[in-house]
């Protein structure tokens, strides 16, 4: 009976998370377009609904009812699989991301996370990496030159940043002594991990930009070079899933993980703990700010070349991540 209850609760929670994420991602597109618009002194979507509020709905309707073209020459199985492989793992990371402390409403304890795995961070990393294969598959399955180059570029970038990312996350883990994201947050009640881990933070920002394919690392879909990169041959919703997964869901989820690792998760800002703001609101404010930061970077900087990214990853970011481990180790010896 208890098992059944857990299953029901989990199912409901998962549904809420997935549907919420879908809608959220749809509106994140609007957010990005609005932000980009105002950065460029134009309003962005405006006339479809009040202030363009119905724009994502219109886009979704359009994309969903578009003819689903599958070119003759593609590898059909991989072609379909690729879009799912990019999208599903990005959503699955959500399973281990906690959005706040458990709280009680009407006597029911609600845990604002799906599960609290003790290897949550590792799982997140693993899923993050799997979703990249979607991109590579897409490039391969399209059987066309531009997607192929796009996919291979992404593979090259992947090899570069994955290593650095792994080492960069060691710092916070060492300080918290746990892989569980919830425990990492709880360990930051007094001081955020950004303090000694500043180098790791730089590395993580680099890796997230690379993983989500935002400028300056958007080599895989550089429009001027590769038309649409790996998505060139995709139409309709199969196409829609890629940017949704990469640019919005993955960016959002990875922002959440970064907040958890370096900015104290749902802990309130220093000296502002007395404010009557619920924990998950704090969390969302932080994630939102970080997400905006990524947008800000995206709409400002030019793009690196792919070999320069790998060079940067191996020659700069990896040593930085290692140095960070060293610093954190000394920090722990001295303070704690």
């Amino acid at each position: 009976m208890e098992l059944l209850g857990t299953v029901v609760v989990l199912t409901i929670k998962s549904l809420i998370f997935i549907i919420g994420m879908f809608l959220g991602a749809a509106y994140l597109t609007l957010l990005e377009r609005k932000f980009a618009g105002h950065v460029q002194q134009r309003p962005g979507p405006l006339h479809v609904g009040p202030h363009g509020f119905l724009q994502p709905i219109a886009d979704a309707l359009k994309v969903l009812t578009k003819e689903d073209l599958v070119p003759d020459s593609v590898d059909k199985v991989l072609f379909y699989l690729a879009s799912l492989m990019a999208f599903v793992p990005a959503i699955m990371i959500l399973a281990v991301v906690p959005f706040g402390d458990p709280f009680t409403i009407f006597g029911v304890e609600i845990k604002p996370y799906i599960t609290d795995l003790n290897v949550g961070l590792l799982l997140a990393l693993a899923f993050g990496s799997i979703s990249i294969y979607g991109v590579i598959f897409a490039g391969w399955a399209s059987n066309s030159k531009y997607p192929m180059i796009g996919g291979l570029r992404k593979a090259a970038v992947l090899i570069g940043y994955e290593v650095a990312l792994g080492f960069a996350l060691v710092g916070p883990i060492m300080m918290a002594g746990s892989f569980s994201l919830r425990e990492i947050v709880e360990a930051q009640q007094n001081m955020w991990f950004i303090i000694p881990n500043i180098l790791a933070f730089v590395v993580v920002i680099f890796c997230i930009l690379a993983e989500t394919g935002r400028t300056p690392f958007d080599v895989q879909e550089a429009e001027a070079e590769l038309v649409g990169g790996y998505v060139t041959e995709y139409t309709g919703m199969k196409f829609g899933l890629f940017p949704l997964a990469e640019w919005y869901i993955a960016t959002f989820v990875l922002s959440a993980i970064t907040v958890i690792l370096f900015f104290g998760g749902w802990n309130p800002l220093p000296l502002m703990g007395w404010l009557p703001i619920p924990a998950f609101v704090w969390f969302f404010i932080k994630v939102f700010l970080l997400f905006m930061f990524f947008l800000w970077v995206h709409w400002t900087l030019p793009r690196y070349r792919v070999d320069q990214i790998t060079e940067l990853a191996w020659k700069v970011m990896l040593p930085l991540a290692l140095a960070n481990i060293f610093i954190v180790a000394i920090w722990i010896i001295i303070f704690g």
Partner: protein, 179 residues
């Protein structure tokens, strides 16, 4: 195609909603051929900002709904333009921007295609050399009207031929749902 001739209330509503989605999210393929491409870029840029109307330019024809043929189509590029058109998924529309692509324009020569409608069907012709961004936006809105009219069960041949207008005033009433 059964849906097309069905006038049941539910289907009509669905059609209405779909048509609304389509005309408010027209993504053009960014195929710039000549001078008109510059004005097309200006239409997308800050001063006129097609993004307001949900129009964003896509690099790949596979993800676009409308092909804005901006500039002179010469004989040599015509087969490739046809290929681009064939690569676009249905439903798709074509705006022929400027005189050159509509009818050869001022280049009645051996090298120029005398009208892109000889290789692909065109929905809206926008005269001008090049048309100003406002003229192109007007053309895009004509296309939106056409998509709307199609939803109402009219074949496009039945839409009355618009007389060449005198100057038009800005639209005063904003529809809350867009166009």
């Amino acid at each position: 195609m059964a849906i097309k001739h069905n006038n049941g209330i539910i289907l009509t509503t669905v059609e209405e909603v779909l048509s609304w989605g389509r005309r408010n999210s027209l993504w053009p393929a960014s195929v710039g051929l000549a001078c008109c491409a510059i004005e097309m870029m200006h239409t997308a840029a800050s001063r006129f900002d097609t993004d307001r109307l949900g129009i964003i330019f896509r690099g790949s024809p596979r993800q676009s709904d409308v092909l804005i043929v901006a500039g002179t189509v010469v004989n040599k590029v015509a087969p490739m333009l046809k290929l681009i058109y064939d690569q676009m998924p249905d439903p798709k529309w074509v705006i022929s921007m400027g005189g050159c692509s509509s009818a050869g324009g001022p280049f009645p020569t051996y090298a120029t295609l005398q009208g892109v409608d000889r290789i692909i069907p065109v929905d809206v012709y926008v005269p001008g050399c090049p048309p100003t961004p406002q003229a192109l936006l007007w053309g895009i809105m004509e296309l939106q009207k056409k998509i709307k009219a199609k939803k109402e069960g009219k074949l496009w041949e039945e839409i009355p031929v618009r007389e060449v207008p005198t100057a038009s005033q800005p639209i005063k009433e904003k529809s809350p749902l867009g166009f």
